[in-house]
């Protein structure tokens, strides 16, 4: 593969997607569950944003709303998603969405072993993504497909074009899935745990590929992950999600080296690299809140040993730490007592960023 510059340049003055006070609910066995509780977010052109959080924190559901891929029992209850001239929350018909999906916003899924149709050749599946949105001749479509295969680093594209998914390894399949996402050169690429199902050496290759593609095509990339190593490796900004809300958002450095929210502290404390030999690894006590019920105050308060009284009563607003860094915690209120982050978090400084972290 040819070498191009790996650096990409985020343009923080140019938001491509703006989410305002988004609420997503699901109907589950007659009960209503609130999966996303009023998220506002600006996604900037060319940046890579990592959304981190534990399973069930709503990070996948949140990004699925950008493509209208919520399950049938889910709906957007409130809020807006502005993308260019559209408000995606007003899209009802499939025809509206097909203009966006695959063409403007594309997605890479978690498990490459099951993401491809086992009965169609890899070439046909990539080609399909291209011809859906572009009226071209068969020969042109094939040429474009071969180009894409080469672009995602699959050797011998001519031969691979005719093969079926079961003839590909996991890493190669993920490259195919990425090629499908890249078929129409989308503006936004959502990667839903793109490396979770892969082994560590392949993970690095796939992240590398995504970074190269981002630089080459000026993509805006959203990574959804619970692997902080991946985050350290690729993200410009980090949004920490807990119980359907973004509790802290900031640049990679700000969130890693100057975290403000107690949940972020807890999350970072769980990094195995911070463990002390001979002692148990840190784990967050308790369980995430029940999303079927209304959440009073700070959702993390019941699991936070140092929670303030106000945390159980009122939901904290966002407090701005720097223009790029804000967190939803009463600790940032001027009236709050001074509670310092756990001292061992300072050790993150000593870890070589992107190196040691990503080997976790």
């Amino acid at each position: 593969m040819e070498d191009y510059i790996i650096e990409h340049t985020p343009d923080y003055n140019n938001p491509v997607l703006t989410v305002e006070d988004l609420v997503v609910k699901f109907n589950l066995r007659g009960q209503v569950l609130t999966a996303v509780r009023g998220i506002s977010l600006e996604l900037y052109k060319g940046e890579s944003l990592a959304i981190v959080g534990e399973s069930g924190s709503g990070k996948s559901v949140f990004t699925k709303t950008f493509m209208g891929l919520l399950d049938n029992n889910g709906w957007i209850d409130n809020g807006h998603i502005y993308y260019h001239d559209y408000d995606l929350t007003t899209f009802k018909k499939e025809k509206d969405w097909t203009k966006i999906r695959g063409q403007r916003i594309a997605m890479v899924f978690q498990d490459p072993m099951t993401s491809l149709n086992p009965l169609k050749t890899v070439g046909k599946q990539i080609q399909e993504a291209f011809t859906l949105h572009n009226k071209v001749s068969k020969a042109e479509a094939k040429a474009r497909t071969l180009e894409l295969l080469a672009d995602v680093g699959i050797p011998e594209p001519e031969k691979r074009y005719k093969q079926y998914p079961h003839e590909f390894s996991g890493g190669m399949r993920q490259r195919v899935v990425i090629a499908i996402a890249m078929a129409c050169v989308p503006e936004i690429l959502i990667c839903d745990e793109p490396t979770t199902a892969l082994d560590v050496t392949i993970q690095a290759q796939i992240l590398d590929l995504l970074k190269k593609l981002q630089a080459k095509y000026g993509l805006t990339v959203i990574y959804i992950t619970h692997d902080l190593g991946v985050v350290a490796n690729v993200a410009d900004r980090i949004a920490v999600m807990y119980a359907g809300d973004i509790v802290e958002i900031g640049t990679c450095d700000e969130v890693f080296y100057d975290p403000k929210h107690p949940y972020t502290w807890a999350l970072l404390s769980s990094l195995p690299q911070l463990g002390i030999k001979g002692e148990d690894l840190y784990s967050i006590q308790g369980t995430p809140p029940n999303l079927f019920q209304h959440i009073q105050g700070d959702a993390f308060a019941p699991r936070n040993p140092q929670a303030l009284k106000v945390d159980f009563v009122a939901r904290p607003p966002y407090f701005e730490v720097t223009p790029t860094h804000k967190a939803r915690t009463w600790l940032l209120d001027p009236r709050a007592p001074k509670i310092d982050p756990p001292p061992h978090l300072k050790n993150i400084m000593n870890l070589n960023r992107g190196g040691d972290l990503s080997n976790g």
Binding site: E94, A106, S115, N117, K120, A129
Partner: protein
């Protein structure tokens, strides 16, 4: 691939040999009274002996078996019916009946597929909605109700309602309609049920999510991705059901007095018509074995993941 098929055929031959020999010997274990057609009391021992001798039944079993295979393999002769239609070659007895059953069966099979599969697709695509509920009700009704009940209802009420003949008449094509409806109902239900089930299974797969994320509409997804994948598990049984249409349906054929194959094997066994039993067992075994082989080849054609190789063959 060719080696695999040849190997399969070889094993099929062994299967056929064993099945036929075992059935042959089992028939010889039946009490001999059956060969005297209920006149056991009035016949003298000499007459009985003569009958048995004429049928070759007094020879030791291995000699009888040897003779049977020699005649079948060297002369292609399955023998003549000894009870049902005495003196008529078995093949001549079976052939016209098989043809009649096949004519009904093939049309019914066609209808089962033409209505059953699209119904299943429709149900899967409207899962949980009205069409789906209606289809499920039909499937449930057909499966829960004994066939005898709705066959009779069709014969009695539908015939008067539509002014169609109640019994089969080879010269009147209209008399074929009701039996074909009877033969089709069950197959439509099961085709629709399985098609729906496999489609729903497929629709929950990850690759369908990816296909939707590509920007395909749900009908594009259903037709380009789901249907073919859902059909594969059903492809294997197609050749077998096609071949077995000649075996006819016992109940439908007796209800409409169709001179078909239904019940012929049972009658032959009951009346101890050894040669007829042997001929029919051979026929049905050949059908089963070929059906399975064709089914496997069909699977291979439909699913690129399946390669037919003999154990130990290099890929």
């Amino acid at each position: 691939m060719l080696r695999y098929i040849l190997g399969r055929l070889g094993r099929a031959m062994i299967t056929l040999f064993l099945v036929l020999s075992i059935v042959f010997l089992l028939m010889r274990l039946l009490p001999v009274d059956g060969y005297f057609e209920g006149r056991t009391d009035t016949m003298s021992e000499t007459v009985k002996n003569n009958i048995l001798k004429e049928l070759g039944l007094l020879d030791p079993w291995y000699k009888q078996l040897y003779n049977f295979w020699r005649k079948l393999l060297l002369e292609g002769d399955l023998g003549k019916s000894i009870v049902m239609r005495k003196g008529v070659p078995c093949v001549d007895v079976i052939w016209p009946k098989a043809k009649t059953s096949f004519q009904f069966g093939i049309i019914a099979l066609g209808i089962q597929m033409l209505i059953g599969y699209p119904l299943g697709v429709l149900m899967a695509r409207s899962k949980g909605k009205f069409v789906d509920t209606l289809g499920n009700a039909y499937v449930l009704l057909i499966n829960a109700l004994p066939a005898a009940v709705y066959f009779l209802a069709i014969q009695l009420y539908l015939s008067t309602l539509l002014k169609l003949p109640m019994l089969f008449d080879p010269l009147d094509w209209k008399s074929r309609i009701l039996p074909i409806i009877c033969l089709s109902l069950g197959g439509i239900a099961s085709n629709a049920m399985w098609m729906r089930r496999y489609m729903v299974d497929q629709m929950n797969m990850d690759y369908i999510r990816l296909a939707r994320a590509k920007g395909m509409t749900s009908s594009q997804v259903a037709f380009r991705h789901v249907m073919r994948n859902a059909f594969i598990p059903m492809a294997q049984s197609l050749p077998t059901s096609l071949l077995f249409t000649i075996s006819g349906s016992l109940y439908v054929e007796s209800l409409f007095s169709i001179p078909g194959m239904g019940g012929l094997l049972i009658q032959s066994i009951q009346r101890q018509d050894n040669t007829m039993v042997q001929a029919m067992v051979l026929l049905y075994s050949v059908i089963s074995v070929t059906g399975l082989l064709l089914g496997d080849i069909m699977m291979m054609i439909c699913d690129p993941r399946i390669k037919l190789v003999k154990k130990g063959d290099s890929r």
